[in-house]
Amino acid sequence: MTDADKNLHEFNRQMVWAGFRQLVPIAVFVTLFGAAFGLAAIQAGLQGSVIVAMSTLVFAGASQFAALELWGPQVSLFTLVITVFAINARHLLMGATLYPWLRHLPPAKRYGVMLIASDANWAMSLQAFNRGQPGIGLLLGGGLALWSFWVVGTWLGIYFGGAIQEPRSLGLDMVMGCFLLAMVVGGEKNLRLLMIWIVAACASLLAYWYLPDNSHVVVGALAGGLAGTFWTEKKNEH
């Protein structure tokens, strides 16, 4: 990890706008994903206003799809809370990984930019920081792009969803996966990171098969993180 003490946390309107534009290509796919959600939610029996409210306020696709699975005339509150928390628990780690830079911001901004942290803008932002470039503009601007396109997509899906009945056959379920993989492959690579990733992948798979549903991301990430504290970067030692 690079030194976090430079002024990389600073951001202004231009940087937010640049971040917005940089995430628009991904956000276009997110619109389609949002439309798929809107359609699925209508089919699950939710009201249009509830669906738009969910995308606007929750803004976490995987957990929203999972909530649809639990939806019925009645919903078990406990199951819903546990499911949403487990799927979104990766945000805890995302916030923690950005903390070395976020800590230089006043609390209102620090928590404000985290309101719309999600997989894609977090990954872009962290990669920028690790390259020694400012990243908050990407986090905030990119988040605004993803969030607005997600809400618009949801709305489109509710009213015009019939047009994309099978997002899977168009490969749209792979958008996030391919994006995140591109981030991994495009980032720093060395033997230490490779070993850490193998630990993370194995732990994730074991959790996926043997531990409660939705625990695999957090288990794998923590296992990789722990591996990193044992096999530390040599260049920084002493």
Binding site: V75, F85, G171, A182
Partner: protein, 102 residues
């Protein structure tokens, strides 16, 4: 405890989901404000960041259909060759879409 999904109770459920999700977005930052950022913690944070992605992707690659696997493979290969994310993502999606037509 079961909650009805009719009328405004559905919006209450959505609000609860929103609060839980917000807690995950803020919680990590909040907890870290009590952790002194020493050498080990930095190493942990650095290792965790890539591991989140790998932990997300591993079951997708192993448990997914061949379309999903080929899509990830195409993305990785394009990324290594061109080092540009957008063509890499497009290649992945296109691969999955084409493969699943048959």
């Amino acid at each position: 405890m079961n909650i009805e999904t009719t009328g405004s109770s559905a919006l209450i459920l959505v609000s609860i989901m929103a609060v839980v999700t917000l807690a995950t977005r803020w919680g990590g930052v909040y907890v870290m404000s009590f952790v002194p950022i020493g050498y080990r913690v930095k190493q942990f944070i650095g290792a965790t960041s890539g591991s989140v992605l790998v932990a997300l992707l591993a079951p997708m690659a192993l448990e997914g259909d061949n379309g999903a696997r080929l899509a990830l493979l195409a993305t990785a290969a394009t990324m290594l060759l061109l080092k540009k994310p957008l063509p890499a993502i497009a290649a992945g999606i296109l691969t999955a879409a084409i493969f699943r037509q048959f």
